[in-house]
């Protein structure tokens, strides 16, 4: 999954760094806050571990290799932010010392394997494990599924980064300048080995490590699982779940970003979105564009980025990406606002209910 230099355009690499650098900044801040001095040797040893795990290339029938990363299980043991640093360092070694993965594409590789993988893996793990005790068998299963989904999410991200290259970057005569394969080719190429071999290895490894720690020294899991009981016996009453609007908005945006390139795979145009004049009237048994459709089509034409580009039609690719970014931000902000309003309304209702219960508690 290590993308070497030369497969991706420098602008794609720049986007990778643009995501990676702030994430590193947050990660180092978060990590140094958690355990003061212990984190440096711990991160070092775990990134050495991740490096070794990546070295274990599992042979795949079609002649290539796939490998586990260990990002999910590091996230489970040390927290996702620590995993970001540990895996980033392992990737740096591979890029600098062994030419595995490029230097310009390092940022993109970090986004895939050191950011997407641990966070997706950890998220799935949290979701499945819930508030079960640290020694619960469900955590082992959760770790396996987390690792499996995490590495496949990372592989999908890599496939998307490869696949958008020929459409975005080609010379005047259509020669692709970077990776020549389209999404319809890159996604299966990455998905098949990772859904089968690499995903399985990551799953087995994650489960084995969590099971080992449960058996050998469960206290190691405590710092990364605040508030989770050790065994069934000391389970605390469950606190009410709160959904912060900012978190919901962010989750939604991330989901959309992950899913959106799927649309580029589908052949043909989007159903029911064509210009009325492009409708195949004969096929539909019509003689003319329906009057209502004709009348109201183009009713609103004051869009900022019509046709997902600049009005002048220049820089089509740039315009498309810019449209996507603006769209993401607008939708995210909208959801955030809706959430804030809802919380204000619900919060008032909760407060009322609490006030009703107050006298009883005092009595």
């Amino acid at each position: 999954m290590h993308i070497p230099d030369g497969y991706l355009s420098p602008s794609t690499c720049a986007v990778g760094y643009a995501v990676a650098i702030p994430t590193w900044a947050i990660a180092s801040k978060r990590v140094s806050k958690v355990v003061k001095t212990r984190n440096v040797p711990m991160l070092a040893v775990f990134s050495a571990l991740s490096f070794l795990v990546m070295m274990f290339n599992v042979p795949i029938p079609d002649g290539t290799t796939a490998h586990a990363v260990g990002g999910a299980v590091i996230a489970i043991c040390l927290g996702p932010w620590a995993a970001v640093i540990a895996v980033s360092v392992a990737l740096l070694f591979q890029a600098l010392l062994f030419g595995d993965g490029g230097v310009l594409s390092y940022g993109v590789n970090v986004v895939n394997m050191a950011i997407i993988l641990p966070f997706v893996g950890y998220g799935i793990y949290r979701l499945i494990a819930g508030r079960t005790p640290l020694t619960s068998g469900r955590r082992v299963v959760a770790a396996a599924i987390g690792g499996y989904v995490g590495i496949n999410a990372a592989a999908l991200a890599a496939a998307v980064e490869f696949g958008i290259q020929p459409d975005l970057f080609k010379s005047a005569d259509g020669t692709p300048l970077y990776s020549p394969y389209h999404l319809s080719q890159t996604i299966p190429a990455m998905a098949i080995p990772h859904l089968t071999i690499a995903g399985l290895v990551e799953a087995v490894m994650s489960a084995a490590i969590v099971a080992y720690l449960q058996r050998a020294d469960v206290s190691r899991l405590v710092p990364s699982h605040p508030g989770i009981p050790l065994t069934e016996a000391d389970r605390a009453p469950r606190p009410a779940r709160t959904l912060a609007p900012a978190r919901v908005a962010l989750g939604f945006v991330v989901l959309m970003v992950v899913l959106s390139p799927l649309g580029l795979l589908a052949p043909g145009g989007a159903f029911g979105e064509d210009n009325p004049n492009d409708l195949n009237l004969n096929k539909l048994g019509l003689h003319a564009v329906p009057a209502g459709l004709d009348k109201y089509n183009g009713f609103w034409s004051h869009t900022l980025l019509g046709g997902y580009g600049f009005s002048s039609g220049d820089h089509a690719d740039l315009g498309y990406i810019l449209s996507a970014l603006i769209g993401i931000v607008v939708v995210g902000v909208a959801i955030l606002l809706i959430g804030l309003v809802m919380r204000a309304v619900l919060g008032r209702r909760d407060a009322d209910r609490e006030r009703e219960q107050e006298p009883q508690r005092l009595g």
């Binding site: 040797p41 070092a44 020294d217 206290s219």
Partner: protein
């Protein structure tokens, strides 16, 4: 071996004083001037496996104390407690007349004074030699304690020269042999010029020549005024260089403490501490006579 005066001599030009938030008076029976005064230390790993079960110990300046005990008897843990790396669940430790607690070691001045006075050579050199090069490894302690880069560089060169490993300065630790790594680990502690040196199993996994070299170095450091405390279960080499032996039982208590001659004559004691096996009597008795005379010679120096 050339002993560099600047490194070995007591040149603590007004070290920062050890005093911080947590206080407890020195125990009444503490001998005056003691470096370490430990009373009733208890410690267990993971709250399950006991390592220390009520340990009392005093260490006086200039002593060479050998902590003897079978594997897992708690001597390594005691060294870690003495170095303020782990903290007892019960009992108190005073170092240089001041209480050692986790809270006190968070105080900048206190920790700087404590760390510059007490050095620890770990059993596993691989854990102690963690820097990319030998030079950086040896410089680490001085830099953490705020010495200037200039002075650090000078000290590193001196200590590497003293231990005869100047040619390794720019090598990476994984290129070194076990004996060389041990020398680097010792250099990285000596460079800070501590008053007290703690060694955990110093001769374990060393070849005979390195063992002999290390024994001589310990004697030399002690002659230069360093207080030495080390853990070992090797009676053959290191009891030559102890002024006092402290014997740990397998249930994590101190069985006996005394001059090496007396301890080594007490076969029943050594047997119960699992330091010797019944069948090793004959062999040991031969060795003992040698140890005995050594211990007496040394005893004359210090008492």
């Amino acid at each position: 071996m050339t002993t560099q005066e600047s490194l070995i001599s007591h040149d603590h030009a007004g070290p920062p004083t050890l005093s911080a938030g947590d206080h407890a008076p020195l125990p009444a029976d503490a001998p005056p001037g003691a470096i370490f005064v430990a009373r009733g230390l208890r410690y267990s790993y993971l709250d399950r496996f006991a390592a220390l079960d009520g340990v009392d110990l005093d260490v006086m300046p200039g002593e060479m104390v050998a902590l003897l005990g079978a594997n897992g008897s708690g001597k390594s843990t005691l060294l870690k407690v003495l170095d303020g790396l782990v903290f007892p669940s019960e009992g108190t430790l005073h170092a240089f007349g001041h209480l050692v607690t986790e809270g006190n070691l968070e105080d900048e001045q206190y920790v700087e004074a404590f760390r510059s006075r007490v050095g620890f050579v770990f059993q596993n050199s691989d854990t102690q030699v963690f820097s990319p090069t030998v030079r950086e490894e040896v410089a680490f302690g001085c830099l953490q304690l705020g010495l200037s880069a200039e002075e650090t560089r000078q000290r590193v060169d001196d200590v590497l020269g003293m231990l005869g490993i100047a040619d390794l300065a720019d090598r990476a630790p994984f290129q070194l042999s076990g004996g060389q790594k041990k020398k680097v680990a010792i250099a990285s502690v000596l460079v800070m010029n501590p008053e007290v040196l703690l060694f955990d199993e110093p001769t374990a996994a060393l070849d005979p020549r390195s063992q002999q070299w290390l024994a001589e170095l310990i004697v030399e450091l002690n002659a230069a005024g360093k207080t030495i405390v080390y853990a070992t279960h090797d009676l053959d080499v290191l009891e030559q260089i102890a002024t006092r032996c402290v014997v740990f039982s397998e249930d994590h208590r101190i069985l006996a403490s005394g001059p090496p001659g007396a301890i080594l004559d007490d076969t029943a004691l050594l047997l119960s501490a699992n330091l010797i096996h019944e069948h090793s009597h004959v062999h040991l008795r031969e060795g003992q006579r040698v140890e005995h005379s050594h211990a007496h010679q040394r005893g004359g120096h210090h008492h």
